[in-house]
């Protein structure tokens, strides 16, 4: 269908086009809820079955990094909302600036995730042949706090006593950890790509008070990805840290 200005040929009015875009984005987000939902359901059930192992797994996650990431994402939702507002009132430079800020924050989030994933790799916590829940306890690095290692060793011995198959069940935790955060990170990468496109469109002056639909719709998507993290963070990092 051809386009006249911003109006695509299948629509009668810009209003109809905007309504369709909004409904379409909300319906898409509903599908994403069901998509992540299957994974969250699997996690919840397994946490119920293997509380000990999942508690041990939670404990290996760095609360500081997770907390920082949570703050980063919430801030990025704020900057995204600000860019929608700025595009509503026709402030082109502000729209672009807020979009760039959102992109920077999103990239920072992904950077922290890389650091976390590297930590997991170093500690043999990536599911596969080399997975070993007590690797760090057995082979502490030079700069590891000895008191921390002691506490971990004690926690692990108690956990192994409660659950002889701790290694297998902890591997299940990390499969879900990488699955859930990985899927989330993939969605963020796609979001970042869309932000790059949005920034360029904003720079060339495409968005006006009458037409700012892409900013709003991608804003909705970004907020959704943020909300997924708001669920992920407590589920993975916070529950049952210390039993």
């Amino acid at each position: 269908m051809h386009r006249t200005g911003e109006l695509y040929g299948q629509f009668e009015t810009l209003e109809q086009q905007k309504e369709s875009a909004a409904l379409g984005m909300w319906v898409f987000l509903a599908t994403e809820v069901l998509f992540f939902g299957g994974l969250f359901m699997t996690y919840t059930l397994n946490r119920h079955y293997y509380g000990t192992a999942f508690g041990v797994g939670s404990n290996t996650l760095d609360l500081k990094l997770g907390g920082v990431n949570t703050v980063i994402l919430i801030l990025s939702s704020l900057t995204m909302a600000m860019s929608v507002w700025a595009s509503h009132i026709g402030k082109r430079k502000a729209t672009t600036a807020f979009l760039v800020a959102t992109l920077i924050l999103g990239t920072a989030f992904l950077g922290v995730k890389v650091i976390e994933y590297k930590q997991k790799f170093d500690h043999h916590l990536v599911p596969g042949h080399h997975f070993q829940i007590d690797y760090r306890a057995q082979h502490p690095a030079a700069n590891d706090d000895p008191k921390e290692i002691e506490a971990e060793k004690e926690e692990l011995s108690k956990a192994f006593a409660k659950d002889p198959d701790l290694n297998a069940h902890a591997q299940l935790y990390f499969s879900l950890y990488f699955g859930m955060t990985g899927l989330h990170a993939l969605h963020m990468i796609v979001g970042a790509g869309m932000l790059v496109w949005l920034i360029r469109q904003s720079i060339i002056g495409r968005f006006t008070p009458t037409y700012n639909t892409p900013v709003e719709m991608i804003g909705l998507y970004w907020h959704f990805v943020d909300i997924v993290w708001i669920y992920l963070f407590p589920l993975l990092y916070l529950i049952d840290r210390h039993q």
Binding site: M1, G9, Q10, F11, E12, Q16, E19, S20, L23, G24, V27, F28, A30, T31, E32, L34, F35, F36, G37, G38, L39, M41, T42, L45, N46, Y49, Y50, P127, G128, D165, A168, H169, Q171, L172, S175, L176, G179
Partner: protein, 564 residues
């Protein structure tokens, strides 16, 4: 009593093919492969689903030939596992689920609501490409080792122990799932925002209501199987343990996640067909449909309740009696809206002016066969009975009655009903009627014996059987050969009609929908002027604008000369 041939000749004498329409407005392969016209995309889907129908049908043919003897003479047991698996995967994911929504829904839905296209035409094209990409992965899987897990992919066979090409297959179905999701999304938004002026919700044709309900299932159900099959693929590739008991995983969790989609999926397969029947019956009984709002509501009810019955596929897995009771009760409940439809279609026929055109033959066939298939579903939903007939040919017969006797007949009925609109031509009516009867006969001969086989204890998915079952098996295979003829004939005469069929004109039946008020074939933008709707649906009695169509079709006498 008018004879069909003279009506066709009369119609052909009145109308000529329109000069420019969606088929000839642009030329070249790029104009088809890069089209965003919903009508062309529907035809792209028509070709691709027909291809997969052949693929699935080929596997079915080998199965039926193999089952002519009790010991199974044609293939090894391992190959037999692959045959029924690939038959199921090809037919369910690449034929049945897309067929009516992606072919007839794509073509007719915008026309029926008076829109120029769907809300998101480019996403519509993307849907088709995702379907093709998914299909390529699955075909790759079929040709490099096949698939032997059953279309149900139960773990840990699929995720650990199978030596077949599971990973590319689950990847292909995953990608195809997004094709479905995007189609559903497109339909929901289109029905909400793109109805022509005057086309209120309760003036919508029932086919649109059916597509809407189906789209709800697409949107809410498909993502769950997507993530589930993704997890199976990950488990297989990286030796993770979600569903593998040896690593602490739970195979029953897989079944719950799988059936949470796959039960609503069967409603994806039948609801659109019911929508087609709701268009055909009033047209060929020339009477408004009985109980319009109940049929519309029942489509939504089936979609909603259908999400709460999945564990009736798991009665024999050791689930709790209380859970089984709940699921059995809900399964009985979901039959009620379906029954409402059957009663309403029958009431529509009562005191109607019946024409025996081909779409009507498919429609009537649907009602009878769906009745049998649906009722036998209730047998299976009965806990005590299911213990004996679960995993037997009774189940196989039940779902083939619904999916073939129901969905495929609905699909073929719809193809014939909208063929004049799609192609601008009429198919050869007598040959088509004969073909419909051949199909109906072949179908019953193939699948009715399977009810008996199942009841007598023949298990499904077995490559061999006790000798006393041979007669029924041979009957079933014989029926399959007749059924195959019933499928081949339309493919031949529909193609023939493209060049030699009588020109149809805008409204050959005549029917009351908006799609019949534009040319056959329609122009690319569907309507030259945006229509405004002031009439109720299926209003055969009082529509003055249909009078000429009725006269041309020979259903009303022409006015005597001097009356103009």
């Amino acid at each position: 009593m008018h004879t069909p041939t003279s009506t066709r000749a009369a119609v052909g004498a009145v109308y000529k093919m329109p000069q420019e329409h969606y088929l000839n407005s642009t030329y070249g392969i790029r104009s088809w492969l890069l089209t965003t016209d919903h009508k062309r995309i529907a035809l792209l889907y028509l070709l691709s689903v027909t291809f997969f129908f052949f693929v699935g049908g080929m596997f079915a043919t080998i199965i039926r030939i193999h089952l002519m003897t009790p010991r199974g003479f044609l293939v090894t047991p391992e190959t037999y596992n692959k045959l029924f698996t690939m038959h199921g995967v090809a037919m369910i994911f690449f034929f049945l689920i897309p067929s009516i929504p992606a072919v007839l829904g794509n073509f007719a839905l915008p026309l029926m609501i008076g829109a120029k296209d769907l809300a998101f035409p480019k996403i519509n094209l993307l849907s088709w490409y995702l379907y093709i990409l998914g299909g390529c992965f699955v075909l790759y899987s079929f040709s490099t080792g096949g698939l032997d897990t059953g279309w149900t992919f139960y773990t840990p066979l699929s995720s650990v122990y199978s030596n077949s090409a599971v990973t590319p297959a689950v990847l292909g179905i995953f990608i195809n799932g997004f094709s479905s999701i995007l189609t559903g999304l497109n339909f929901v938004v289109t029905v909400h925002t793109m109805r022509a002026p005057g086309m209120t919700w309760f003036r919508l044709p029932l086919f649109v209501w059916a597509q809407y309900a189906t789209s709800i299932i697409f949107i809410l159900g498909t993502p769950v199987i997507a993530i589930t099959l993704l997890l199976v693929g990950l488990e297989r590739m990286f030796h993770l343990g979600f569903f593998n008991p040896a690593l602490g995983g739970d195979p029953i969790l897989f079944q719950h996640l799988f059936w949470f989609y796959s039960h609503p999926a069967v409603y994806i397969m039948i609801l659109p067909a019911m929508g087609v029947i709701s268009e055909i019956i009033p047209t060929f009984a020339r009477k408004p449909i009985f109980g319009y709002s109940f049929i519309a509501g029942s489509s939504i009810a089936i979609a909603v309740i259908g999400f709460f019955v999945w564990a009736h596929h798991m009665f024999l897995t050791g689930e709790s009696v209380y859970a089984a009771l709940a699921f059995s009760f809900l399964s009985y409940l979901v039959a009620i809206p379906s029954a409402v439809k059957v009663f309403n279609w029958t009431s529509t026929l009562y005191k109607g002016s019946i024409s025996w055109d081909t779409p009507m033959l498919y429609g009537l066939g649907f009602i009878g066969l769906f009745l049998i298939g649906g009722l036998t579903g209730l047998f299976l939903a009965c806990l005590g009975l299911d213990i004996h007939i679960h995993d037997t040919y009774f189940v196989v017969a039940h779902f083939h009655y619904i999916m073939v006797g129901g969905a495929v007949m609905g699909y073929l009925g719809g193809i014939h009903f909208w063929w004049p609109k799609i192609s601008g031509r009429l198919y050869p009516e007598y040959l088509a009627r004969v073909s419909a009867i051949i199909l109906f006969t072949g179908f019953n001969l193939t699948f009715f014996p399977q009810f008996l086989l199942g009841y007598l204890g023949m298990p499904r998915r077995y490559h061999s059987y006790p000798p006393e079952f041979q007669v029924l098996n041979v009957m079933s295979t014989a029926g399959a050969s007749i059924l195959a003829l019933g499928y081949l004939l339309p493919m031949i005469y529909l193609v023939w009609s493209l060049k030699y069929g009588t020109v149809a004109g805008p409204n050959p039946w005549p029917a009351t929908g908006l799609e019949w008020k534009t040319d056959s074939p329609p122009p690319t933008e569907n309507f030259l002027v945006t229509p405004e709707v002031t009439w109720e649906p299926y209003d055969f009695e009082t529509r003055p604008d249909l009078e000429l169509d009725h006269i041309v079709a020979g259903k009303l006498p022409a006015p005597a000369h001097g009356d103009d």
